[in-house]
């Protein structure tokens, strides 16, 4: 890791240069309530000072909601062509917990099998991180994802009159050297950074009692009343999954052309909260009740991947809480598990 500082007066020139030299994706205010990561053509469109979460999360750039995987032709012999599309682009202004969300997906899409579609996009995505203010539903601090230690090329932290810059890759270093008037970080700058981080961590208001959840969850697992109560108002609408930066389930659809000679396969974001998710050939459904689906979602988020690769599948961003019309709240539910098992 290299540490540099950029004077605030030079920030705009740096960003403008990136916008003109690269395909540049950054947060832009979309309507009165949310921001979205979209292509930016002029610095005036960029709004890194977003408070509300961006919906959908930046994972859409790596794992798009609809993505063609193969096309095929059926003639005398069958021809199958993979479709792998990726372009070099900059993702600017993505915050620590969303970078940690991408880091989680990196593990998912490279463990057991290598997902070429994902990886080719990830490798070409130049990530420039930046802190954003946590919303009142954010519990990243409890999940240990409020700080990104890798998964980015460059990370800018806004201090009083300068940006503290962490550079994690050679590619990031080239960009900084070429487009930013930086100087080496001094001992004073490091002190400023530490002070900033202390303050920053105090801004997270929501906390969850995630310690021992791994064991607590087993104790509550068969308590039907508990799960029924929690899931009572759930619509099984899947919004919580689809806005989540770490949810990775997809469904593959086969589109055969009417000429019956060619076609394609497309994957689309799926949701474990809808009843069709547990439906298998022959009509049996493994999880017909919404309370079992919610329980399974929590298990997947907070337990399964601890076993698999030592990570939670939740970065505490709070998007699912904001998206849920039934006001189902993963943070409160984690805390209720603790309460329920301690009585």
């Amino acid at each position: 890791m290299l540490y540099k500082v950029l004077d605030k007066s030079a920030y705009r020139d740096f960003v403008k240069a990136l916008i003109s030299e690269y395909e540049f994706i950054g947060p832009k205010k979309k309507d009165r309530s949310v921001h979205d990561f979209v292509p930016i053509k002029d610095i005036s469109e960029l709004d890194t000072n977003y408070m509300r979460v961006t919906i959908p999360p930046a994972k859409k750039l790596l794992f798009p909601p609809n993505e063609k995987l193969v096309t095929y032709e059926v003639g005398r012999k069958i021809e199958v062509r993979p479709v792998i599309e990726s372009d070099e682009e900059i993702l600017f202004g993505v915050n620590a917990w969303d970078i940690n969300g991408m880091n989680f997906l990196d593990r998912v899409f490279t463990t057991d099998f290598i997902d070429e579609n994902y990886i080719s996009k990830r490798e070409k995505l130049i990530v420039i991180g930046m802190d954003s203010k946590p919303t009142e539903t954010n519990f990243s601090l409890s999940m240990g994802t409020e700080y990104a230690k890798d998964g980015f090329d460059i990370y800018l932290t806004e201090l009083k009159d300068k940006y503290f810059i962490r550079i994690a890759t050679a590619r990031g270093n080239e960009i900084v050297e070429r487009y930013a008037k930086v100087s080496d970080a001094t001992a004073e700058d490091f002190r400023g950074y530490d002070k900033y981080m202390n303050n920053y961590r105090k801004k997270f208001k929501m906390s969850v009692n995630i310690k021992n959840f791994y064991d607590d969850f087993e104790l509550i697992y068969d308590n039907e009343d508990f799960w029924k109560k929690i899931a009572k108002n759930c619509y099984s609408c899947g919004s919580c999954n689809l806005v989540c930066p770490t949810c990775f389930c997809f469904n593959i659809k086969d589109d055969i052309e009417l000429n019956l000679k060619s076609g394609s396969k497309t994957r689309e974001w799926d949701s474990c909260m809808i009843s069709e998710y547990g439906l298998v050939a022959g009509g049996h459904n493994f999880r017909p009740d919404k309370e079992n689906r919610l329980k399974q979602r929590y298990r997947c988020k907070l337990k399964t991947f601890i076993d698999k690769f030592g990570k939670y599948a939740c970065v505490g961003c709070g998007r699912c809480i904001e998206a849920c019309l039934a006001k189902i709240n993963i943070a409160e539910d984690i805390n209720s598990v603790k309460k329920e098992v301690s009585v």
Partner: protein, 251 residues
């Protein structure tokens, strides 16, 4: 591959669903190459009673239509209902809300005895429907998808999940956040969240999902200052056949 013989029929409806098939433009030629259309109420004058697949638009609202649909049911091996009217009764069911006699009185006055008009019902009240292409109008690509699946012998994939899924895939801001009410959380997807995409609430034209959380929807609407009556009014637009008549409600 053998071309299946297909009849496309119009019952009580506006004809818009059949029009959707004609609107296929690019795909229309492929479609007529893949199937043999022996009857098409809105598009061809020939009539044949020799078909394996019947595609039916419109609800049943006359005695004559009961006979027609029963005959179709006897002939066709597979019936596909297309559009809200055929699937759930659709807009036509608003008539039922008045009660049959009252409705006839209002519309036909002294001629009412001469008119063949019965309580409106969806197609599957009279014959077994195999597949449904929901919506008003139905999604023409879904109709193609059903036909294509029938030709290659697999089950068409028709969503039974709420509109929210498609809405989130499209990256929309939930319209509730913008102060607009929406039936999306309990309504069937498959329309690619057409209404929320243009910032208006879903009206459940594809009907509700199999296992909707009606109580949650009521709680939610209450929070936005809406009553159950407001909701029912929206449900009624396309789903009045499920509801009660005004007289039944007043009791």
């Amino acid at each position: 591959m053998r071309k299946p013989k297909v009849g496309i029929f119009g019952l009580t409806g506006c004809g818009g669903c059949q029009l959707e098939i004609l609107n296929l433009e690019d795909q229309l030629l492929d479609l007529v190459n893949a199937i043999e259309i022996v009857h098409f109420t809105e598009a061809i004058t020939e009539y044949s009673d020799n078909y394996e697949i019947a595609i039916v638009e419109g609800s049943i609202s006359t005695m004559h239509e009961i006979e027609r649909i029963k005959k179709i049911g006897d002939i066709a091996g597979t019936i596909v209902a297309i559009g809200a009217c055929a699937v759930s009764g659709g807009l036509n069911c608003l008539k039922n809300l008045y009660g049959l006699e009252k409705a006839k009185e209002l519309v036909y006055r002294d001629k009412k005895k001469l008119i063949d008009s019965i309580e409106v019902k969806p197609v599957d009240e009279y014959v077994k429907v195999d597949y449904y292409a929901r919506g008003c109008p139905p999604n023409r690509f879904e109709i193609v998808d059903i036909i294509r699946s029938l030709i290659v012998g697999k089950k068409p994939e028709i969503p039974n999940y709420p509109v929210c899924i498609e809405c989130k895939r499209n990256g929309n801001t939930c319209v509730y956040e913008l102060g607009i009410t929406c039936l999306g959380p309990i309504s069937r997807a498959g329309c690619n969240s057409r209404c929320p995409n243009s910032v208006s609430g879903c009206e459940a034209c594809r009907g509700v999902i199999d296992d909707p959380n009606i109580n949650a929807q009521k709680d939610l609407l209450k929070e936005y200052g809406l009553t159950v009556e407001d909701i029912l009014k929206e449900f009624n637009l396309y789903n009045a056949c499920r509801g009660k008549t005004i007289e039944q409600k007043n009791k």
